[in-house]
């Protein structure tokens, strides 16, 4: 295959554990994501610009971006229509992924309310009651069960076609709701918007790129204020609303003398039961019998974030660490649910004693052991899965165990409830700190890893520059793991922040980078933004906020970026989305959209430059609100001379 020389590992990742394990994989001839990316070079230029279409059998078609070749597909679609259709379908796929995750949680919640599950319960009854009251369900002198059943019914209706607007749209400022109504982008049904997008992008339906993009906003809003938000809220009700917790992160969380089981994927539904199952004395006794000191659970990706947030389970790594966790030779089992689990993990596992256990009937992996998850027998299946991992310890080859680093501490667990709790129950102290300029604003640094960029460099560098300049950073997903590994998420990291943010963090005992959860938990950032806007009586788009996805890769990230922008928060992407083949679509998303929803997209791969873009944006928003603001050109000049 590829005869390329290996690139210096320092160009692939800034994380020492990743660098060391990539070297190990190379020395053992194990193929990783970076090798496959090299083999794919150069990647298709038409697809990268978004001008290829394979939606029908008159095609496939592509537009020649250089103008010499065809400018229309067989059906007559030009670059604008093709790019908009492709983007629309990407948003629909991302929105569907989050929303189907939300539906799975909702179904287990409903079954639990009906007493049909084992291993589940209503953990946060107060939150259940708060949610029910917020959504107009009577709670007065009613049983938890009755309220839960009615809430489940209402939220199931949010997935259908019977509503004019999703329930959680009410959380946004009235002015934003009116804007969405005027634009015709108020999300009505979670499934409906994705299905309608697939319809509209069928040949010969929506042939107006602006109209397609507007429905793209609506489809993403059905995720952000619908499917993802339901996933977050009901996970809190069932598994507990996160509160600040200190844990550890990186491949050093794997223990050489223990049975190591990694929980990988996105849905806390099964993994939360596994955490309970791993405490079973019989299973621990069996681990001892096999010579292990105990059972060590670690997280990977967002399943890991869910468990870290609520139970303090150590985090082994983010997206690009999944293959490398296996190459430590110390992993007995990788239990996967769905999303972002590379098909390659079973290939890497074949080189070791690691058992890959798939658990969702939606996500099967050739080479894995499939143990179908059934919430009515949750605990029993959880124990079976852990047992499988424990037994694999007998097959471990101790001479191949290489755990590269010592773990680093991080603080997680910052739900909106926890943040407001730290502030004394109201956003007022945060609003005051922002108003007087001690804190300039807040930025959600979120999203994935992408092997096209040096792993974690974008997340860590951008976050560092922002906190240095008194901007509070909220992280989720892979970004949280990257920042945790870099030591930027303990209260002591306040010393890295600018004087205003530092003082605030030290007074509250919190880090300057707050872990808000998994990628569906980006909705916590939306809720916090809406709460700030409502507190001030302004629209979300007027606040000194921004979003950033420095290393995004997935369709889900496109849905997130779009709902964040559609909610009024300008977002900077670190990887170019496949839209540049259309001048009109690019112009709209990077410019014209600002006049429509009060926010837009920017693309900047260099996190140093992205920090400048964001700082300028935040100061401009401050100035517009009449708050003390820095001179925009002074920011750029200061960075240029530094």
């Amino acid at each position: 295959m590829s005869t390329r020389e290996f690139r210096d590992v320092r160009a692939l990742s800034i994380a020492p554990d990743a660098q060391q394990m990539i070297e190990v994989a190379r020395s053992e001839g194990i193929e990783t994501v970076w090798d496959r990316l090299a083999a794919q070079q150069p990647q298709c230029g038409y697809c990268a610009l978004g001008v290829s279409c394979r939606n029908c059998a008159m095609g496939p078609c592509r537009i020649d971006p250089f103008g010499a070749g065809p400018q229309k597909g067989v059906c007559g679609a030009d670059a604008d229509v093709i790019v908009a259709r492709n983007l629309g379908r990407t948003i629909a796929a991302g929105s569907s992924a989050h929303s189907d995750h939300g539906r799975d949680i909702l179904e287990v919640f409903a079954a639990t309310a009906h007493g049909e599950t084992t291993g589940y319960r209503i953990t946060d009854e107060a939150k259940l009651m708060r949610l029910a009251a917020e959504l107009g369900i009577a709670t007065e002198s009613r049983t938890t069960t009755a309220v839960a059943v009615e809430l489940a019914d209402l939220l199931m209706e949010n997935y259908g076609t019977r509503r004019a607007a999703l329930s959680f749209v009410e959380r946004t400022p009235k002015v934003r709701q009116d804007l969405w109504d005027t634009l015709g982008v108020t999300p009505r049904g979670i499934d409906r918007e994705s299905v309608e997008m697939l319809h509209r992008t069928h040949m010969g339906v929506d042939n107006d790129y602006v109209n397609i993009l507007l429905h793209g906003l609506r489809t993403s809003l059905a995720d952000g204020w619908g499917g993802s938000m339901i996933a977050t809220e009901l996970s809190d009700v069932m598994f507990g609303t996160p509160t600040p917790v200190v844990s550890t992160v990186n491949l050093g969380t794997l223990k050489p003398d223990m049975v190591n089981i990694a929980l990988h994927g996105h849905n806390p539904m099964l993994s939360d039961v596994i955490v309970q199952a791993a405490e079973d004395p019989e299973l621990i006794a069996r681990a001892h019998e096999l010579g292990a000191a105990g059972i060590n659970l670690v997280g990977l990706c967002c399943t890991g974030n869910e468990l870290l947030m609520r139970r303090g389970v150590p985090m082994a790594g983010n997206h690009l660490m999944q293959e490398l966790a296996i190459t430590t030779g110390a992993l007995e089992a990788m239990v996967v649910d769905y999303q972002c689990i590379m098909p390659s993990v079973t290939d890497v596992a074949k080189c070791y004693h690691t058992v890959v256990i798939s658990t969702s009937d939606k996500a099967k992996f050739p080479g894995a052991v499939h143990m179908s998850f059934d919430p009515s027998r949750g605990m029993e299946i959880g124990k079976d899965i852990v047992r499988r991992g424990v037994e694999a310890f007998a097959d471990r080859n101790p001479s191949r165990v290489r755990i590269p680093v010592e773990p680093v501490q991080l603080m997680a667990g910052f739900s909106v409830e926890a943040i407001l709790g730290a502030l004394g129950g109201t956003p007022a102290p945060l609003v005051e700190a922002i108003a007087d300029g001690r804190i300039r604003g807040a930025v959600g640094v979120v999203g994935c890893n992408n092997p096209k960029l040096t792993q974690d460099y974008g997340h860590v560098t951008l976050t560092r520059r922002l906190i240095e300049n008194d901007i509070l950073v909220l992280v989720t997903g892979c970004s949280a793991v990257a920042n945790g590994k870099a030591g930027q998420m303990m209260p002591a990291a306040a010393a890295m922040a600018g004087p205003g943010l530092r003082a605030t963090c030290e007074a509250l005992g919190i880090p300057p980078v707050l872990h808000m959860g998994s990628c569906v938990d980006n909705t916590r950032i939306l809720v916090l933004a809406a709460a700030l806007a409502n507190h001030l009586g302004v629209d979300i788009s007027q606040l000194p906020l921004a979003g950033a996805a420095p290393e995004w890769y997935s369709e889900k990230a496109v849905a997130i970026g779009t709902y964040v922008v559609a909610s009024g928060i300008t977002t900077v992407l670190g990887v170019e989305p496949p839209i540049f083949g259309s001048r009109n679509v690019t112009g709209l998303l990077a410019g014209g959209l600002d006049d429509v929803v009060g926010a837009k997209f920017a693309v900047e791969a260099d996190p140093e430059k992205a920090a400048v873009i964001i700082r300028r944006h935040i100061e401009a928003k401050r100035a517009a609100l009449g708050l003390p603001a820095l001179d925009l050109d002074a920011i750029t000049a200061a960075v240029a001379t530094a």
Binding site: P42, C44, D64, G69
Partner: protein, 215 residues
């Protein structure tokens, strides 16, 4: 002598070589922004459809020696880089008379604007063999982009030998088909191979006539 060799039966018409060529000959060298440059960079490799649907041929300058285009150029704008053995056009001295295009056996020259601002003018544009890349020890952009081995870069005789080994099967199949009285031009890669061979012969005889050549 190293050059780019074409295996037409392997071409799937993906146009990746055209894209990579245009980007390589842009100022930004970026696949994201090259198309927005003024003048728009143009591909110098041309994937033309074959006689049968689903077939295609990535045609580019063969860097002939002697090169008919070089022989007829009235302003000596076309020269040969001896070190890399590549035929190059100097846009400064080209007068766009199109004599080169008339005599090119492969119709590899096209005419497009180059330069910036007031200096911008239309001149003969053709494959430069990615001379900068080749000097750096890299393969030409079109070859790097080709995922199916339709464009390969290497020593001419090595590539011919490779093709001989691969082609022998096709020749035997074609001969067998002809003996069996089948219509060999009906379909499939063998048919493609044969029609390409016939076309190449026609081009060769035409070139000999035009160049008055002795090759």
């Amino acid at each position: 002598m190293k050059l780019v060799f074409v295996n037409p039966e392997r071409c799937i018409g993906c146009l990746q070589c055209e894209f990579a060529c245009a980007v390589e000959h842009s100022s930004s060298k970026s696949g994201t922004t090259a198309w927005a440059e003024e003048p728009v960079p143009r591909s110098r490799v041309h994937v033309d459809p074959g006689p049968v649907m689903g077939t295609s041929y990535p045609s580019r300058c063969r860097h002939c020696d002697p090169a008919p285009c070089q022989q007829v150029c009235p302003t000596s704008a076309i020269t040969r880089d001896v070190e890399q053995d590549l035929v190059l056009v100097d846009p400064e001295t080209c007068i766009s008379c199109a004599m080169c295009a008339m005599v090119c056996p492969f119709d590899a020259l096209t005419f497009h604007p180059v330069g910036v601002g007031a200096q911008m003018r239309t001149v003969a544009v053709k494959c430069d063999g990615c001379i900068d890349r080749v000097r750096r020890g890299e393969t030409p952009a079109c070859v790097e982009a080709c995922k199916v081995g339709a464009l390969v870069f290497g020593e001419l005789n090595d590539l011919v030998a490779e093709g001989r080994l691969r082609g022998s099967g096709a020749v035997l199949a074609a001969v067998t088909a002809a003996e069996a009285g089948e219509d060999a031009v009906a379909e499939g890669p063998v048919a493609t191979w044969r029609s390409w061979g016939a076309a190449a012969s026609r081009v060769e005889s035409a070139a000999t006539t035009v160049g008055g050549g002795s090759r």
